[in-house]
């Protein structure tokens, strides 16, 4: 295996004893046995139950919110509206968990005051002695709305005279890239291919809706135990309420799915306010119907590609425009648009490039972070365009890709030089090959094969100046403790730290306990977002464990009168390499350390590379630490009479740098295959005039177990990543190409491209009819 130089790889051995193996994750048994505790399982004596009143109107003035009847209901302890809130009146929704400056004023009212901007905006909070009473109280709150003109389409929102939802002009963010000489590039092109792609709202649909418990403890500390991806929200809660940061403690419980939906704060600040007002513990588990309104779904995008290409398939110029619907509040829309802009060219080298992107506010649901964070929408257009270019040129689409793939050392869309391995070709080739032979078409069924490649960043935007801390220590009995405030959102975030530590300290993984997710007592690790948890906390843990190892081996070396380099650790033994008689147990070694007054623990901080931003006129500059590359291939069967699509095979091939836990990586590939299939074929939040039409999981259709195709994960390891042992981020990357590969497979099957997701049976039938008519 071609392993590139990685300055961060701390362990001398190329061969791992535990890293990369499919070991049982530390969180698996408790989840399998059903003993894992989630935020919604927590109870406390005297606990009250919360309920939230969400706006029924998309654009209206709030003339009056009368809580008199609700307050009079027996069992109701507290009813809060905007009138009752502290002066700050808002909660920060900019990039959470960061100390760096904010780029936009992204404060969102905690509760609507005077005006509601989307259907679902929170208006009032109730805490009562039972869920039933709280719900009844919600029903007794009288809201007098006066509808005002709204705007429900981003293009309408940008037109002159549009009702204003945000700022002066509804522009939430805009970016541009000006690179090379686009006129010259188009002049060099033999053909120009232009297409517009659109994507829909996608709901995270995590198994566990928003859930949290809050109370004020005996030290006057406001405690919140929550289902969140971001422990550092304690600061935003404190700022919103006007408490000092050290009086808010946020603990992230095991999370039953986040996917970005629990990145920006959801319900924590509501519970904080209710707990402070009632002086009782208060818990809320959002019912599914309100969960849909309590976090931001994926942004709908409209993407146009105008590509100049030579007869032999080389891209000479590319002009791209993005328009995304931000909904009623900014949330993370500026950053998501930035990700799309940086990812505009996918995994391809384009020297002459124009990108213009804009995110517009409307009275729709505020969209926010969702696995892929704008990159996957950009990628979908890129990969669809590859097929269209190939069709125009009469070439194989993989050949067009090969002639344009970005390579190590090339500059990407923003001029950032790619330093890690780019194995797009290997991944795509292997994924396609794994599909095997095509089954025969039947009279009414057409088989299609599709592939898509991608470029997806991992780690946060460089000017966020990201860091993560971790603590590793060895107990006197030789067992190991890791402390990290990393949120474990189900991807094995805490387990990976155990596996890394076990490798470095030579103990079985079951001897390592990871205390995680506590903003007060575990070292802050940053968010479990941006495919950064393993990269950042893995590196911090690797650093801390390596230093503990150095301390232990130092003591053992003095004991055996050898240099530390001559020692190794395995199976809870410290031993002289090649001289097994000279060994001691890790317990004895730790005791030596204690006797010598040598630290048996270490607190390390890992700091990501940083930059100062991009040039606003050219969009040029370093934006991300690194990127992951790979491919997904799909085989579909399309019924050409009814338009039904069945995904038969779904294969992800990715260069993960280095797998830490092979099963966990495969799990990410498998989950992404289904999530991407849903995005490609059936998932869509439908809004009409801002009103959600798909209000439950019987209307919002995620794939079920019956829809699962044959899924395969092909894991490649270049060792070139910036994460521990050369690993790369993988949570989002594996998802990036899935929908595009399915869309391309459908195109391959029916010979006509559907540019608008989701690809419903109806759209297929219509497209086939048009094809027949046009001939």
């Amino acid at each position: 295996m071609n392993r590139m130089e990685n300055p961060l790889a701390g362990v001398k051995s190329e061969k791992f004893r535990q890293v990369g193996k499919p070991l049982i994750r530390t969180d698996s048994p408790t989840k399998v046995y059903g003993t894992a505790v989630y935020a919604g399982d927590l109870t406390m004596p005297g606990m009250l139950y919360a309920a939230v009143l969400h706006s029924e109107r998309a654009s209206a003035l709030l003339r009056r919110v009368d809580t008199t009847r609700a307050k009079e209901l027996p069992g109701v302890h507290c009813v809060l509206t905007a009138e009752d809130l502290p002066a700050s009146q808002g909660v920060m929704t900019d990039m959470p968990g960061q100390t760096g400056g904010m780029t936009k004023n992204t404060k969102q009212p905690i509760l609507a005051k005077d005006r509601v901007r989307f259907c679902g905006e929170p208006i009032a909070l109730v805490a009562a002695e039972s869920v039933a009473i709280a719900e009844q109280a919600i029903g007794l709150i009288d809201v007098d709305y006066q509808d005002i003109d709204g705007v429900y389409d981003p293009f309408d929102a940008l037109a002159p005279g549009a009702p204003i939802v945000y700022g002066d002009d509804n522009v939430v963010a805009s970016y541009k890239i000006r690179k090379g000489d686009i006129e010259k590039g188009f002049a060099e092109a033999d053909v120009i291919v232009e297409n517009t792609f659109t994507t829909q709202y996608q709901e995270q649909a995590f198994l566990e809706p928003e859930a949290a418990l809050a109370w004020v403890d005996e030290l006057e500390v406001l405690n919140i135990r929550s289902s969140t991806q971001v422990v550092e929200h304690y600061r935003a809660v404190a700022d919103a309420i006007g408490l000092p940061h050290n009086r808010v403690r946020l603990r992230a419980e095991f999370v039953g799915g986040g996917f970005g939906g629990k990145e920006v704060m959801t319900i924590e600040v509501w519970l904080a306010l209710l707990a402070l007002a009632s002086r009782r513990p208060v818990r809320l588990v959002q019912p599914r119907e309100r969960s849909f309104l309590s976090h931001g779904p994926r942004h709908p995008f409209n993407i146009t590609h105008r590509t100049g290409v030579t007869r032999d398939g080389k891209i000479t110029a590319l002009q791209i425009s993005f328009t995304s619907d931000a909904g009623a509040y900014a949330k993370l829309s500026p950053y998501i648009l930035l990700y799309a802009t940086v990812g505009a060219t996918g995994p391809y080298r384009v020297d002459n490039l124009h990108v213009d992107s804009v995110s517009a506010a409307t009275n729709n649901l505020p969209a926010c972070a969702f696995r892929g964070f704008g990159t996957m929408q950009a990628n979908l257009a890129c990969e669809g365009q590859m097929e269209e270019i190939a069709k125009t040129l009469g070439m194989d689409s993989m050949e067009v890709r090969r002639r344009n793939f970005i390579r190590t050392g090339d500059a990407n869309a923003t001029g950032q030089i790619i330093r890690s391995a780019v194995w797009s070709d290997q991944c795509a080739t292997q994924a396609l090959a794994a599909l095997g032979k095509r089954p025969e078409n039947s009279q009414t069924t057409r088989i299609g094969h599709g592939v898509a490649c991608y470029q997806q960043s991992y780690g946060r935007i460089l000017w966020m100046k990201d860091s993560s801390e971790a603590w590793v220590g060895v107990e006197m009995d030789g067992t190991v403790v890791v402390r990290s405030a990393v949120a474990d959102i189900g991807g094995g975030q805490s387990s990976a730290l155990a596996q890394i530590t076990a490798e470095i300290l030579g103990v079985p993984m079951k001897e390592v306990v990871v205390y995680f997710g506590d903003g007060a007592v575990t070292p802050l690790a940053g968010t479990s977002t941006a495919s950064r948890a393993l990269y950042m906390s893995g590196n911090a843990t690797q650093m801390a464990a390596t230093r503990v190892r150095e301390n232990l081996l130092g003591c053992a070396g003095r004991h055996f009168s050898v240099e530390a380099e001559e020692l190794d650790m395995n199976d809870s033994q410290v031993f002289v390499v090649g001289d097994p008689k000279r060994s001691m147990t890790i317990n004895d070694c730790v005791k030596l350390c204690a006797a010598e007054g040598v630290h048996r623990h270490n607190l390390a901080i890992f700091k990501a590379p940083t930059s100062e931003g991009i040039d606003p006129e050219t969009g040029q500059g370093e934006v991300f630490p690194d990127f992951t590359y790979g491919a997904h291939a799909a085989q579909v069967a399309v019924d050409i009479e009814t338009g039904e699509v069945r995904v038969l095979q779904s294969i992800g091939a990715h260069d993960v740098g280095q797998a830490i836990n092979l099963r966990a990586v495969e799990g990410q590939v498998e989950g992404s295959a289904l999530m991407g299939q849903g995005f490609a074929l059936c998932e869509e939040l439908i809004l009409e005039q801002g009103q959600l039409q798909t209000r439950s999981l019987s209307e919002y259709l995620i794939p079920t177990s019956e829809d699962v195709p044959k899924i395969k994960a092909i894991i490649l390891e270049s060792g070139s990543g910036l994460g521990p042992f050369g690993s790369k981020g993988i949570g989002e990357p594996v998802y990036a190409p899935v929908a595009a590969s399915i869309a391309n497979a459908v195109t391959d099957a029916i010979g006509v491209h559907i540019f608008e997701l989701p690809i419903t049976p109806e759209k297929i039938v219509k497209a086939l009819r048009r094809k027949e008519t046009v001939g």
Binding site: V131, A132, E135, P287, E289, T444, E641, T642, G643, E644, R646, L681, C682, I686, Q693, T694, R695, S696, S698, E699, L701, P703, T704, S705, E706, D707, T760, P761, E762, V765
Partner: protein, 290 residues
């Protein structure tokens, strides 16, 4: 949130019928329609009568060429009945794709019929075998064809004091085919976009009887009788089949909703009826040659 409701729990059929006669209450079997409805937009304080303890309403009896199915028979019971693949092939095909396993364990045949939804998957297959329903009340029993039981959108001949006791039909003739197809937006737990059941009976190389029952394309599940008549009295040529399928599509009165447009649904009826009739003709024809 699920609003509070009152649940009466009779221990015998007589007790249940008495309760139905004297109190305004809705029979609750699997609850797979009623409970989501209640959760979505129900008011508090509704009264239900649980049928859970009434074992005699559950089970399938095969008597000669008659099949008598208790109203509380679940969709998964249908799949467990070894004689059902012969007794009503379309019903078995339907039960396999009805919602998902958890729902099939709870949902009952009577519940699916009496809820009266246009997308009730059990109804097209039962219409395709000319099923009859027997309703019982404290005042007595009555039996009527399922076809005349269905009156309109969520409207049936079921009276507030009645329980659907049994569904019964005659096993299709040997030289016949009985098929079902469900078109949904996903494979599991889907609300049907178009449901089609057909029966074709062949005698001496010509079609002597045909049934075409359609779900989700009109206010209620219905039989496309004009289309059925086109098929009677001759061999089923491609042209005849297409004409019947087109007639069935024209007889549909679908709506636009979040799952599909009316136009698409009509198109799908045309395609699926044509496909099922073609298959039916081929398979029943094959049986004749055996």
């Amino acid at each position: 949130m699920l609003p509070s409701f009152e649940l009466l729990e009779p221990h015998s059929l007589d007790e249940a019928l008495k309760m139905l006669a004297t109190s305004e209450a809705t029979p609750l079997a699997g609850g797979t329609n009623l409970l989501p409805d209640l959760r979505a937009h129900g008011r508090a304080g509704r009264r239900f009568i649980s049928l859970a303890a009434l074992d005699q309403l559950r089970g399938v009896e095969h008597k000669g060429n008659r099949v008598i199915m208790g109203g509380s028979t679940t969709l998964n019971d249908i799949l467990r009945d070894p004689l059902m693949p012969k007794a009503a092939p379309s019903l078995v095909s339907m039960a396999k794709v009805f919602a998902g396993t958890m729902i099939r364990n709870a949902a009952t045949i009577a519940g699916n019929i009496c809820y009266g939804s246009p997308s009730a998957d059990a109804i097209p297959p039962l219409l395709s075998v000319d099923a009859e329903v027997t309703l019982t009340s404290a005042a007595g029993e009555r039996t009527l064809p399922l076809d005349s039981f269905l009156l309109g959108y969520k409207k049936t001949a079921h009276q507030p004091d009645e329980l659907l006791k049994t569904v019964a039909w005659t096993i299709p003739a040997a030289d016949s085919a009985n098929l079902f197809y469900k078109l949904g937006r996903r494979r599991g737990d889907a609300i049907t976009v178009v449901g089609v059941a057909v029966t074709v009976v062949i005698e001496s190389g010509s079609c002597s009887k045909a049934r075409i029952a359609l779900g989700s394309v009109a206010p209620t599940v219905f039989r496309a009788k004009e289309a059925e008549n086109i098929l009677i009295g001759g061999p089923l040529t491609a042209a005849t089949i297409d004409q019947a399928a087109l007639t069935a599509a024209q007889a549909s009165r679908p709506i636009d909703d979040i799952r599909a447009s009316a136009e698409y649904r009509r198109h799908a009826v045309h395609m699926l009826v044509r496909r099922l009739l073609t298959q039916a003709w081929q398979t029943s024809g094959a049986k004749q040659h055996d």
